[in-house]
């Protein structure tokens, strides 16, 4: 056979990300973590609220990243899982007086089950067809939440008001700041679990399916099982994000969870870099802050400005934040050599 050539993986197609490149170095992680810990101490409550939402959407984008970047399945239905998580938390807190922190694992489990079950029929679909099926789920969800016989629990069109929790143990913190650190802790835990998962045997099975289903199956990977598991995990994490979102916004209503949210999350994933987990937070920043920036540039044409900004990003860095990170890494590498 031919001589072994060590080909540098620089010119990789970035549609799917090699496993090692799914995370960032420990130095960078440390700096990011430090910023996330310190910045709220010097920020106003509204900024802290926005940072909380940044983490929450970051989680939801991360969940989509596991599904699409990891197992290669598309979803435009993440808003439905987010809604189920949000309503589970809201209903448990307001109707059953369950502690907010306890509602989150329940929301996660409910959504895991929902996603896993939804994954079953979705097995027969792939690519654009799967995207369409999940799109249908996202379109149906707000209407399902408005159904009459659920109104006692969901509050119908009016939705439910959720009480914001106080900081525990008499900590001298505002409600917003406490919720921020609470969300940060959960986000970090889920991020670490996700990295572990994608680096494990299960994660390899996901990526094997993404790259070649027939070969994966020949290696003993139960394709149907792992595809539905990926849906379940993704929905579960989105559910926890939804639950946190309900607490942070203090309100759930059917029309907060339309297809627009699902598309935003999809956008966040693309801008952050498909399959690059740290990009999730950057994607999340994009979907939270860029619409505001667009509005700042032109009030009347904010949608168009947003569109132009998005177009520029896709044109200049088609692989999202990950591409910038790689270029940055190479630059640092060169500087070190000199």
């Amino acid at each position: 056979m031919s001589a072994i050539e060590n080909v540098a993986p620089e010119d990789q197609p970035v549609e799917a990300v090699p496993k090692r490149a799914m995370t960032i170095g420990s130095g960078t992680s440390f700096v990011v973590l430090l910023l996330l810990l310190i910045v709220p101490l010097f920020a106003k409550n509204f900024i802290i609220f926005q940072l909380t939402m940044l983490l929450i959407y970051g989680l939801a984008v991360l969940a989509l990243n596991i599904l699409t970047g990891g197992s290669g399945q598309f979803s435009l239905g993440q808003s439905a899982f987010y809604a189920v998580g949000a309503y589970t938390t809201a209903v448990l807190m307001e109707h059953l007086n369950i502690n907010y922190a306890l509602t989150l694992p329940i929301a996660g489990l409910v959504c895991f089950a929902f996603g896993f079950l939804f994954g079953q029929p979705a097995l027969r679909l792939s690519g654009v067809y799967l995207a369409l099926a999940t799109f249908a789920l996202a379109t149906a969800m707000p209407q399902l939440l408005k159904l009459n016989f659920l109104e006692h629990w969901t509050g119908g069109v009016q939705g439910l008001v959720v009480t914001k929790p106080d900081a525990p143990f008499g900590l001298p913190m505002s409600q917003d700041m406490w919720l921020y650190y609470f969300t940060l802790a959960i986000t970090l835990a889920i991020y670490i679990f996700s990295v572990n998962l994608l680096r494990s045997r299960s994660g390899r099975a996901f990526m094997a399916i993404r790259d070649n289903e027939i070969a994966a199956s020949a290696m003993g990977v139960d394709v149907a099982l792992y595809k539905t598991l990926a849906f379940g995990v993704s929905a579960g994490i989105t559910g926890v994000a939804g639950g946190l979102g309900a607490i942070a916004v203090q309100f759930v209503a059917p029309d907060s969870y339309t297809i627009t949210l699902a598309i935003s999350l999809f956008l966040g994933m693309v801008v952050g870099g498909v399959g690059w987990l740290p990009g999730s937070i950057i994607g999340s920043a994009f979907i939270i802050f860029v619409p505001n920036i667009a509005e700042g540039i032109s009030k009347g044409l904010s949608g168009a400005v947003f569109g132009v900004l998005l177009f520029l990003i896709i044109f200049l860095v088609p692989h999202g934040a990950r591409q910038i990170a790689i270029v940055g890494q190479q630059l640092i590498g060169k500087l070190r050599k000199n």
């Binding site: 056979m1 080909v7 990789q12 090699p18 496993k19 494990s200 045997r201 390899r204 790259d211 003993g220």
Partner: protein, 265 residues
Amino acid sequence: MTQVQLAQGQAPLLAVRDVSVVFGGIVALNGVSFDMHKGQILGLIGPNGAGKTTLFNCLSRLYQPSSGDILMEGVSILSRPPHRISEIGIGRTFQNVALFPNLSVMDNVRVGTHARTSSDIISDSLKLAWVRRSETSVNEKVHEILAYLDLEDVAHTIVSGLPFGTQKRVELARALAADPKILLLDEPAGGLNHEEVHVLGDLIRRIRDDRHMTVLLVEHHMGLVMSIADHVVALNFGRKLAEGTPAQVQADPDVIKAYLGSKDQ
């Protein structure tokens, strides 16, 4: 699982019994039977469209035969879904290389151990102690196989960037990672040059001897089959044309006719 322990001796490791495959109105395989014995290298040959790949896909459970049976150590494999074939010791490679292009060589081979390991998403997410132990032993095994196939230098390279010949070797490594009893090789010489084919032949023989494997070689390249196979089965138009030692099959008039055509055609 009912793993029937058969008496040593004549009992075949894999038995293909009267297998027929019909697609719509086309008969792709018509009552093909043969046995594979432990330690054998069996070459399956035939012109294009003879049904080699169809038979291969029956063995790896991608196709369901319309009739007949395939027995592995005396037990039918036909009720098994494709993903439960590697656990009973049938490993395969693909005709045009079917690796996981975005994974590293190491990860590709690691996926090969999937059927020989177990885990669940909770333990994996939490990286529990037993998961870490299992990963350590997987890594040891993968390194052993990479060293065996001289792939250690590219262990962390993404496979899509590797030359075709190396990719084929990675595929072989991936199949070996599952500790198969039978290795199904689908046209391993395809796309290789003369020199590479020669090296490949040696490698297949070496794998059979070192790792005590039985090899089914589906191949176009007559030179390779005739030089390394112990036993050859020739197919044409979905039927078994001839069977025997390479020399016998090569001399068979029907085989010559199928490959070269006869005067009255």
